[in-house]
């Protein structure tokens, strides 16, 4: 017992790994319940009409990709499914282009043509400034696409000049850069925004969802599993959902046990 207490951290780490391995190898396949926010996001994007332009702000970094990769793929796949819409993809982070290249071949299974149906501008440096510049005048902020082709040579960009030409704004929220989108795009141009958020920023986006500035959101792996359910596919997220249940379940049981132990002892936990 004393050895266990002395090596408590190592025991917990080993237990986590064992539980995840077990849950991954023995999936339960429980159904996914779709939340209100995910439904609103799905409905908001499904309501796009032919000719509408979606601006997908592909602001992603490698470090948090595991949590949101499935969600991004599901949303991107959904956008490619919708007939007749155009997709403008940009990135305010250096990692964005590499992540985009890894995803595009997996998600573009519906015959969309680059240059006509979707365009990728690549990394536009400047953080909040780059978002503001792109919203104001896309062709001045970024005169060529990720591959060096002038935007004037891409048919899709003929009628897309600023955020005023955008019907929906889809973003990826990793942290405080969420406020860039709200301040520089949503507030001035009144475009409906939907976001794929990481779990640790969830509570901060709540006021914006409640106020309607954010039309809908999906959170991490759970959100990805929900979105996959809505678009009728089974991808990366569903694989991780079972392991989530077991790890959280173990965590909660341990917390309850610790609390029972705490309250059993004389007041003050001594």
């Amino acid at each position: 017992m004393k050895t266990l207490q002395k090596n408590e951290t190592k025991v917990i780490n080993a237990a986590i790994i064992i539980v995840i391995v077990f849950a991954s190898l023995v999936p339960t396949g429980l159904p996914i319940t779709v939340s209100e926010a995910t439904t609103k996001m799905y409905q908001g994007l499904s309501g796009l009409k032919p000719g509408d332009v979606v601006w997908f702000s592909f602001d992603q970094v490698f470090v948090v990709l595991p949590e949101v990769k499935a969600s991004i793929q599901a949303v991107l796949q959904h956008l490619f499914m919708i007939q007749g819409i155009k997709i403008l993809i940009t990135s305010a982070y250096a990692d964005g282009p590499a992540i985009y290249e890894g995803m595009i071949s997996v998600t573009n299974k519906y015959g969309k043509v680059y240059g006509t149906d979707y365009v990728f501008l690549g990394y536009v440096v400047g953080n909040e400034m780059s978002i503001a510049n792109l919203a104001k005048d896309i062709k001045t902020a970024c005169p060529v696409d990720n591959y060096g082709t002038p935007l004037s040579q891409l048919p899709m960009m003929n009628n897309v000049n600023s955020a005023s030409d955008i019907a929906r704004y889809v973003t990826i929220t990793l942290g405080p850069q969420f406020y860039w989108y709200i301040r520089q795009v949503v507030a001035p141009y009144k475009i409906p925004m939907y976001t794929i958020s990481v779990g640790y920023f969830l509570s901060e986006i709540m006021p914006f969802f409640a106020s309607g500035q954010l039309g809908g959101y999906i959170v991490g792996l759970k959100g990805g599993a929900e979105y996959e359910t809505l678009i009728g596919t089974k991808g990366l997220a569903s694989r991780g959902a079972d392991a989530m249940s077991l790890v959280y379940g173990l965590l909660m049981v341990t917390i309850v046990a610790v609390n029972i132990n705490y309250w059993r002892k004389p007041r003050g936990g001594k």
């Binding site: 510049n133 591959y147 709540m206 989530m244 309250w263 936990g269």
Partner: protein, 216 residues
């Protein structure tokens, strides 16, 4: 003349002018003001891009220092770091990335090395957070009890087995987030926004000068 140029008032005036133009352009419809603000924000992005080597120079300074001093147990890793960093840059330039190009070596580096290591380092926090959660989530009083209960509701909301046990966890979790959390964080957000605006005004007015301490 150089004494005049060295005065701190010059960058303060630059900050004030630029800040006022950018703010006013949002609220005042006046074409010369709008175009000046647009030029200023596009110049800002170019300045940020031009600074790309600052981090590189700083990193080289730190690690070259360690190598030259032969710091025990550290200098071999610093040497490897510099070799790997310049190797990555050379491969990227050879692949033609600044000109929109790519090749298999570049893809290999960011897919199998950059991605895997950075994600794994980040995931280490998961282990520490789980250990911390077990110790932190103790219902010592009413407030920590509320903290514990709201955490549990979200845990049940998030995991498939939670909504399988009781379907009500989904709407309950939605309500806790969209009503209770929204109200609480809106209050925090309003306070932060007022703080941000007053801080911005203080910097633009030259009262806050912390960003100028570099020149000391």
């Amino acid at each position: 003349m150089s004494d005049i140029l060295k005065r701190k008032e010059i960058p303060i005036v630059i900050t004030a002018f630029v800040g006022i133009v950018v703010i006013l352009s949002y609220f005042v419809t006046f074409d010369p003001l709008q175009s000046t603000a647009n030029t200023i924000t596009s110049w800002g992005a170019i300045i940020v891009a031009s600074m790309l080597f600052i981090g590189l120079i700083n990193l080289c300074q730190v690690h070259l220092n360690r190598i030259m001093k032969r710091e025990k147990g550290v200098w071999p890793f610093s040497a490897w770091l510099l070799v790997a960093m310049f190797g990555t840059i050379i491969i990227g330039l050879w692949a033609g990335v600044p000109w929109g190009g790519t090749n298999d070596s570049w893809v290999f580096i960011y897919t199998y090395i950059n991605t895997s290591i950075s994600q794994t380092i980040f995931s280490l926090f998961g282990f520490y957070v789980i250990s911390a959660t077990i110790h932190a989530l103790k219902a010592r009083n009413l407030e920590s009890g509320i903290f514990l209960i709201s955490s549990f509701i979200i845990f049940f909301w998030a995991m498939p087995v939670g909504t399988y046990i009781w379907a009500g966890f989904s709407p309950l979790g939605d309500w806790v987030m969209n009503v209770l959390t929204a109200g609480a964080y809106r209050g925090i957000l309003l306070g932060i926004s007022l703080g941000l605006i007053s801080f911005g005004i203080r910097v633009i007015a030259g009262i806050e000068r912390g960003y100028l301490r570099r020149g000391d």
